[in-house]
Amino acid sequence: MRILIVEDDPSILRLVKETFEDAGHELLTATDGNTGEECFTTQPIDAAIVDIMLPGLDGRELCRRLKATLDIPVILLTALDEWEDKRQGFEHGADDYVTKPFIPEELLFRLQAVSRRYQRSAASQIQAGPLRLDLREYEVTLEGQLFYLPKKEFELLFQLASFPGRVYRREELIELIWGFDFEGDERTVDVHIKRLRNRFDHPALTIRTVRGVGYALEVNG
């Protein structure tokens, strides 16, 4: 992704830039609002991160102009946990806001979550027995309870629930969820499966271990 970040603190810029580039993103930087506006009007970008308090054009206004021009995710950076800021931010079209201090990984994580919503339509939901999984919000609903799962657990559950009864091999799951370059071992899958079992203790749901092979989600009734 090509991401524009507008932030007047050079130390933060550098920190974010390194982390995002390590994750394979291309970063455009601007240190004031006007340069920021110039950036997105002259070059294509996929997402933007904008500090609320900027020299020149104010961050909120920049966000508003950005959203008026492009249909891309925008995250606002703010120093206060204040909903006042947040409400204003949302009024100006921001998709999320991250409070300082943040670590760059958190910013990356939040940007990915926001981008996910852009890639998937609102109808990205699957139903497996009593479980409903929302691929956009990464939420699971079970009998009125709403589960906010850690990302990998959700993806694992989503994979299993996509084809109930189908047996997935551990290597297969690692490839699908953690990716080819994952360096951990297959025990990771076992840990996540164990956690999912603990969390979804429901008579209609069983994550079955197929000895020597892998796992399958059984939906009864």
Binding site: I52, L80, D81, W83, F109
Partner: protein, 448 residues
């Protein structure tokens, strides 16, 4: 009901009554001084004419004469020489008259009852229909006649006309006073409403600033004052926001670089870098919380926004999504969709955040945090973790400012989180209860 409205109405009523009484008194004096004698003279002239008529007609039928006289608009009482009384025309309210008077008239001195009618404060002599309020004279045949104009026969219609006129004037005056008072009082009510909205930090509405009178001036001054308050508050907010921003930006760098340092090194150096990272985070948290506390002290918040609990809690969970993901902690909410609290969204989010962050810190990796909500009778939100739990001493000091449980001291937290939370819950008139057992976990119940 001691409203200004009723006070004005009552005052107006009293003014009307008083001015009516004073006017009546003055006119009465005027009547008594100037018009009563001239009025009496008119009757006297009629009496004189009657006398001369009787003189010129020797074989007069007196009864027919009296009847005729009465028919022309007079009422009279005739006392004949045998002291027999007969009345012609309308009845008198009071027909007593002393024998001395009758005797004196019979002796030839006319009775000036009308001219000499005594002064009454509020009673017009004109209307007093008594036998003493008459002109008395005697005729050739020895009859003594007391006569006065029969007002009900003469000017009954005028009487009704004047009566109706005054009744209408009074009635209309009252109606109009009531209406105009309403319009006088209304701007005051508007201004009162405006002060209430300013107290609730809302823009005052419908101020009568267009008016050119004192109320208009007051409204304009009020608007001006309200704008000044807004401006001051905005300046204050901006200042806090700026200060916060100026603090948090360098702290962000500190946290970020300390983290990078920790990632890139091993052993003690890594440990040191972690300490720097954590302490910086705490410093940042402390700054924010102190700012919040000072703001809570300065401007008591207005709790009147309807905040949807599920939505507000979800937002706070999203805000903490990264740390939850890092620790592999799941949050399960069981909150009915329609639960609403009258509150301030910022403060409420602060409450959820503080309790959730505590639960996260207490939880082991891979744990689950449950947030449930019951509505009957009051809204109770419970946050349960499966974490380390607390001993009784920690529980006791949980809400003290700057108190941190021993286990937490080495890692995170400012010791302000729960103190702020309990302050905010107090503002809502609620309370917090805690259940905790070491090694099993903690449940914080927030009762609203």
């Amino acid at each position: 009901m001691k409203t200004l409205y009723t006070r004005i109405i009552v005052t107006m009523f009293l003014i009307l009554l008083l001015s009516g009484a004073i006017s009546l008194l003055i006119s009465n004096v005027a009547y008594y001084t100037w018009w009563q004698p001239s009025y009496s003279e008119k009757t006297e002239r009629v009496a004189k004419m009657a006398e001369s008529y009787v003189e010129n007609h020797t074989d007069l039928d007196y009864d027919a004469f009296y009847t005729f006289l009465a028919a022309t608009g007079y009422q009279l009482v005739v006392v004949d020489s045998a002291d027999e009384r007969r009345r012609f025309g309308g009845a008198f309210r009071d027909e007593t008259i002393s024998d001395a008077v009758i005797q004196s008239v019979r002796n030839g001195a006319p009775y000036q009852g009308m001219r000499d009618f005594p002064f009454h404060l509020f009673l017009l002599g004109l209307f007093d229909n008594e036998l003493t309020n008459t002109y008395g004279f005697t005729l050739e045949n020895g009859d003594v006649i007391f006569i006065r104009p029969d007002l009900s026969a003469q000017i009954r219609e005028l009487h009704l006309f004047v009566g109706l006129f005054f009744a209408l004037v009074t009635l209309l005056a009252f109606g109009l006073i009531a209406i105009s008072t309403r319009s006088l009082v209304r701007p005051l009510q508007t201004l009162t409403k405006a002060t209430t909205s300013v107290a609730m930090r809302k823009a005052p509405e419908h101020l009568p600033v267009e008016r050119q009178d004192e109320i208009g001036t007051l409204a304009r001054q009020f608007q001006h004052m309200s704008n000044e308050i807004d401006r001051t508050e905005a300046r204050q907010r901006r200042f806090v926001s700026n200060v916060s921003h100026e603090f948090q930006s360098p702290l962000t760098s500190l946290v970020g670089y300390a983290e990078k340092l920790a990632d890139g090194t091993k052993g003690e150096s890594k440990e040191y870098a972690r300490v720097i990272e954590q302490e910086t985070k705490r410093l940042s948290q402390l700054t924010k919380q102190l700012l919040l506390l000072s703001r809570l002290d300065e401007n008591p918040p207005i709790l009147e926004t309807n905040v949807n609990v599920l939505q507000s809690v979800s937002e706070v969970i999203q805000m903490n999504a990264f740390i939850l993901d890092q620790k592999g902690i799941a949050v399960v909410t069981d909150i009915p969709q329609d639960v609403v609290l009258k509150s301030d969204p910022v403060l409420l989010a602060q409450v959820w955040n503080n309790v959730l962050v505590n639960a996260i810190h207490a939880s082991r990796d891979g744990g689950t945090i449950h947030i449930t909500c019951t509505v009957d009778p009051g809204v109770v939100i419970s946050v349960t973790d499966e974490g380390i739990g607390m001993d009784d001493e920690t529980k006791e000091h949980l809400f003290d400012r700057f108190y941190r449980g021993d286990t937490a001291r080495t890692s995170q937290g400012t010791g302000l989180g729960l103190a702020i939370t309990s302050d905010i819950i107090d503002l809502h008139g609620g309370n917090i209860t805690v259940e905790s057992s070491l090694g099993i976990g903690t449940t914080i119940h927030l009762h609203f």
